[in-house]
Every structure is written in structure tokens, then in C-alpha cells.
């Protein structure tokens, strides 16, 4: 029963924060709202037994990605004017309609899809379990991600560096 309660608390908070992310005019508040989303999400992860991921979610997203966003926001020092150009009306309407329709469709898919069979053994997402999997079955993809990240770093640096001052 407590599970249900927690689920609804986390979920409603998460969705509310998500709406705030989307709706807020100032990116700063949006980023902060996203932080709330992350925390709620990691709560849900804990409920699902993904302990390690819950930790990662907070550490990586909240600690790294969002901080990066904040950095950039401050770096750019956006004036509110540059952000608040009048939106074309049609765009949000179309977006919300499409998203709404998609939501309905997804819900129908979710309710109509057959459920997976109930697992015999629950697998907790501990560090050890994930680690075994990661460094055995997923070793090659894992190594390949390092290339991806390297490429991203190089790309980001080259892009953001601009023309060399010489």
C-alpha cells in the first residue's frame, strides 16, 4: 500500500515539475524544475529496485548535466528579452495537441499490451550485479562509449572554442 502511495507522490510531483520545466519562461527555473524531476525519477528507480541507477541518476544528471546547463546559462548571460520572443500561437497548440494525442495512444498501447510474465526471481540492481553484467556481456559497448564520449569532448571543445585567437 505504501508503494502505491509513494508511486503517486513521486509521479505527480515529477509530472508537475516536468510541466514547470516546459512552461517556465526563464531557463534557470526550468533547469531547477528538471532537478526535481530527476530526484522523483530516482525515487521511482529505488521503488523499482534499481538502486545503482537511482544513485547515478542523481549524481550524473543532477550533479553533472544540470550543472553544465547552469554553467552555460550563466556563461551566455541571457537577457530575458532574447528568450521571450513572441511565440507563434500555432506552435504550442500543435505541440500540445500532438503530445496529447500521443499520450492517449500510448496509454492505450500500455493498457492493451500483454504484461510480461511475473518473474520468478527479482533481480536487484545493485552495483555488483550491474558491474558483472557491464564488464562481461556489455564490455564491448562499454568500451565503445568511451570513444563516443571522447568524440563528444573533442567536438564540444572544438565547437565552443571558436576561432583561435591568433
Amino acid at each position: 500500500m505504501a508503494e502505491t502511495v509513494f508511486f503517486y507522490i513521486f509521479t505527480s510531483l515529477m509530472l508537475a515539475a516536468a510541466i514547470a520545466v516546459v512552461r517556465h519562461r526563464s531557463p534557470m527555473y526550468s533547469v531547477l524544475s528538471l532537478l526535481v524531476v530527476m530526484f522523483c525519477l530516482s525515487g521511482l528507480f529505488v521503488m523499482l529496485g534499481a538502486y545503482f541507477l537511482a544513485a547515478i541518476q542523481v549524481l550524473l544528471y543532477a550533479g553533472a548535466v544540470l550543472v553544465l546547463f547552469l554553467y552555460v546559462l550563466m556563461l551566455l548571460n541571457l537577457s530575458p528579452d532574447s528568450l521571450n520572443r513572441a511565440n507563434v500561437f500555432i506552435q504550442p497548440v500543435a505541440g500540445i495537441t500532438a503530445a496529447g494525442l500521443l499520450f492517449v495512444a500510448l496509454c492505450r498501447v500500455a493498457t492493451q499490451s500483454p504484461l510480461p510474465p511475473t518473474p520468478t526471481v527479482a533481480q536487484p540492481g545493485t552495483i555488483e550485479a550491474l558491474g558483472r553484467l557491464l564488464f562481461r556481456d556489455y564490455l564491448l559497448p562499454f568500451e565503445l562509449t568511451s570513444f563516443l564520449i571522447l568524440a563528444a569532448i573533442i567536438g564540444a571543445v572544438t565547437l565552443a572554442k571558436g576561432k583561435s585567437p591568433s
Partner: protein, 100 residues
Amino acid sequence: MVTVTHYVVASAALFCIGLAGVMSRRNVLMILLCVELMLNAANLLFVAYSKAWGNLHGQMIVFFVITVAAAEVTVGLAIAILMMRQRNTLDADAVQSMKW
């Protein structure tokens, strides 16, 4: 009793909110943020099904998604900086010289 379906619906809701954001906001930073929302909705789905199937492969995918998302954000933000520097705007509609 919270079933997988609950999580799926929650994930769908989060995804659609993110999508609505992507479609209605014009600031690239906001679009990036909304993309993050959508990615996380996907993550939630993976973890939920990971539990439902009783194995950890779903969680493994989330691990990689987070990695890729980090990379994506890095490059995305770099582009945003570049855009600001060159065009002095973050409006996604302003960047369409590769249209045709």
C-alpha cells in the same frame, strides 16, 4: 498494487510533456532540456520493464542512455554557445540555412 502499466503510463506522460516542450519552445536550451525529459521517460520505461522481466538488461540500457545523453548535452550546449556567439540568438527557427 503498482503494476508495470502504471509506470508505463507515468513514463508516457513524462514523454509527452517533454515532446510538447520540444514542439512548442523555440529556445534551443529549452529544447535540449525537454529532450532530457523525454530521455528520462524512456529510462523509466526501461527500468520498469527490467523489473517486470526480472533481469538487468533494461537497466544496462539506461546506463548507456545516460552516457549518451551526457555526450549529447555536451555537444548540444557547445552548439548553443556557438550559435549565441555567431547569431546572437538561441531561436531554433533562426538557424535554417541548410534548409534547401
